[in-house]
């Protein structure tokens, strides 16, 4: 649990507010296309001996927040599977629209830090329900709605499958992590730092 907690803290610090993610999401690839790729992850992406930083560098060409906690096996595997979705655009064919138009690093971190600690990435491959959760999570944090879905529909469908939300203890702990990072973020904003006119000394 302590381990999961640390990973959720890392995600809470990394991610913008979920409301904001939904607000800015725009039409993306079909859910079935992403789920189908998840069910066919090539064996090398599941190999524990693969160097995640090297894989991320090759596939994405940028760094990931999850690399700092990649000693965790679930994080490593989750990131690796997410990187396959990105690599598959070269290996199989690009999604329509292509993922490059979204925030691919955020999507990888979402699967590695938000979902993998709670749902074993092997279940994303083998279990239909968990695969849909992973695909929806990936699309949201990449900046996309599944093709043909409105924000309201996409949100309620992901909420219904969201393993973090369905675990009361984890959800409460995560809400507190989000609260901490949101306050830190707001206080670091210039408009908060300008302060307000004060009338007395304290």
């Amino acid at each position: 649990m302590a381990d999961i907690d640390d990973l959720l803290v890392a995600w809470a610090e990394r991610a913008p507010a979920e409301d904001q993610a939904w607000r800015s999401a725009r039409p993306g690839p079909p859910l079935a296309a992403v789920a189908s790729r998840l069910s066919s992850v090539p064996r090398p992406f599941l190999d524990e001996r693969v160097s995640l930083p090297a894989l991320a560098g090759d596939v994405l060409g940028e760094s990931l927040r999850c690399l700092s906690v990649a000693q965790n096996a679930r994080v490593r595997l989750g990131a690796s599977v997410a990187l396959w979705l990105i690599a598959s655009e070269d290996v199989v064919e690009p999604f329509t629209p292509a993922l490059a138009g979204g925030d691919r690093a955020m999507a990888v971190d979402a699967l590695a830090l938000r979902l993998a600690p709670i749902v074993d990435p092997l279940d994303w491959i083998g279990d239909d329900e968990r695969r849909e959760e992973a695909a929806r999570t990936f699309l949201l944090w990449c900046g996309f709605l599944p093709a043909g879905e409105s924000v309201e529909t996409a949100r309620s469908l992901l909420d219904a499958r969201d393993s973090l939300r369905r675990n009361a203890a984890l959800a409460e702990a995560y809400a507190e992590h989000r609260h901490r990072s949101e306050i830190a973020r707001r206080l670091s904003e210039a408009r908060a730092r300008e302060a307000a006119a004060r009338y007395t000394s304290e």
Partner: protein, 453 residues
């Protein structure tokens, strides 16, 4: 050297006071209801020929709806039950069973807020209203307090109500500044603002320190012209009003002193010089105003969302009338609802003649000045700023009758502190650095002592 033209080698430079560095909003965002008259007042005092070089710009940020809401105090009936219910939902108290009544809550202190401020902010708080407040505090470590813009603005109307209760009328009066908030320190945020709910009259935060003004007569000309109705500050800045150039030019309806202990002799001098009520307010930034007095008797605990207990070192209640640490439950700031907050100050809880509660023999707040080698008296806040800027977490600074200074600091950059103290005071210095504030000694270390101040 003026505040605007700093020498890069100046060992006392504090980056956060770089003029304008923290001001980012437009005037329309600072005063959403500003009208043409308000805008003209702003322009007038910002550009007044004797005005200081303002280092900051900030407003009250009140919309029309907020402006009306802050005119009235928050209701106090039943507030404590509601407050404790809010507290039980704070992240800090979650999972703590048995917090049924006030006395079930474990006392907290400044270190709790420093360690995890967010766990004391309600999860459903309106963070859109959150702005920075800072607090230098009694043990030295700077603490960022989340201020609520409505609560800060309500504070002005609270001052008006207190002045009215003292039998003095205070209403907008021509172009006089509604209020001048005075400081007297080497570096300070200074600004002109409008009080949206007080006929859009201007107010200003003014630094009386010589460095803030273009010439020696400027501060007197500015105060004479702006003629502030009410003056607020700490004993150091209010004492400056007694200087020859200022005594005859200000004509306040009332004075408010806070942040440090106001000595009886200084109160008497201020009352004599200005023939107006002098309010001595006991207030912490974390808790907001706790108690106030207008004479040298006990402080009267405010009839607001505030409750004071006295506890011993083990957190056990001390009987009324005996000295204990003042522990405050404070519900005025919705972003920081505090339960049983240890102030580090001491006093006795007493019953006043009219039956209300008071605090007698309040000890803890400091008003110490150090004598520099060239004869200047340097207020302790100047030392506080430097010590904090160099990462010192707690300290004890003493000046002996021969002028020598001995400093004990916990943490921080000892070399930089030595340079800063030399630049401020120019006195022989003995400096000892320890690791932790607790290494400074048992209890709350006295931060400043001077045989010459």
């Amino acid at each position: 050297m003026s505040a605007l033209h700093r020498d890069e080698r100046d060992p006392l430079v504090l980056d956060e006071y770089t003029p304008g560095a923290a001001a980012v909003l437009s005037d329309a965002e600072r005063w959403p209801t500003m009208d043409d008259d308000g805008a003209a007042r702003l322009a007038r005092w910002r550009r007044h020929p004797s005005a200081p070089a303002w280092t900051h710009a900030t407003g009250d940020r009140l919309t029309a709806e907020m402006r009306e809401r802050v005119r009235r105090p928050l209701p106090t009936e039943g507030w404590l039950d509601e407050h404790l219910a809010t507290a039980r939902r704070l992240p800090y108290y979650r999972g703590m069973p048995g917090l049924d009544a006030l006395e079930d809550f474990p006392p907290i202190g400044r270190p709790h807020l420093v360690a995890d401020l967010a766990s004391f902010v309600p999860l459903d708080a309106d963070l859109d209203r959150m702005v920075h407040g800072t607090s230098s505090g009694s043990t030295g470590a700077a603490l960022l307090i989340p201020d609520d813009v409505e609560e800060v603005a309500r504070g002005f109307h609270d001052l008006v109500a207190q002045v009215h209760d003292a039998g003095v009328g205070w209403a907008p009066d021509g172009e006089r500044l509604a209020l001048a908030h005075l400081v007297h320190q080497r570096d300070a945020f200074t600004y002109v603002s409008l009080v949206s709910g007080f006929g859009q009259r201007a107010m200003a935060r003014v630094n009386l320190h010589e460095r803030a003004w273009a010439d020696a007569g400027a501060r007197a000309r500015f105060l004479a012209d702006s003629d502030p109705q009410v003056l607020t500050g700490n004993p150091t800045s209010l004492a400056e009003l007694l200087a020859d150039d200022l005594r005859a030019v200000v004509r306040p309806l009332a004075l408010f002193s806070s942040a440090m202990a106001l000595s009886a002799p200084l109160r008497a001098e201020l009352e004599t010089a200005f023939a107006c009520p002098v309010f001595d307010v006991y207030s912490l930034h974390e808790t907001r105003p706790i108690a106030v007095r207008t004479d040298d008797g006990p402080f009267r605990i405010r009839d607001r969302r505030v409750l004071v207990e006295t506890l011993d070192a083990h957190g056990r209640p001390v009987p009324d009338g005996e000295v204990g640490e003042l522990v405050v439950t404070a519900g005025e700031n919705p972003l920081l609802p505090l339960v049983r907050y240890r102030t580090g100050d001491f006093g006795r809880l007493v019953r006043l003649a009219d039956g209300s509660r008071g605090i007698a023999d309040l000890e803890g707040r400091e008003h110490t000045r150090f004598a520099a080698a060239d004869g200047r008296l340097v207020p302790c806040v100047d030392l506080t700023q430097q010590l904090q800027a160099h990462g010192v977490r707690g300290w004890s600074i003493e000046q002996a009758a021969d002028g020598r200074v001995s400093a004990r600091i916990a943490g921080g950059d000892a070399d930089a502190v030595a340079r800063a103290l030399d630049a401020l005071l120019g006195r022989p210095l003995t400096l000892e650095r320890v690791e932790r504030p607790a290494d400074l000694g048992e209890g709350k270390p006295r931060r400043y002592r001077s045989a010459l101040g």
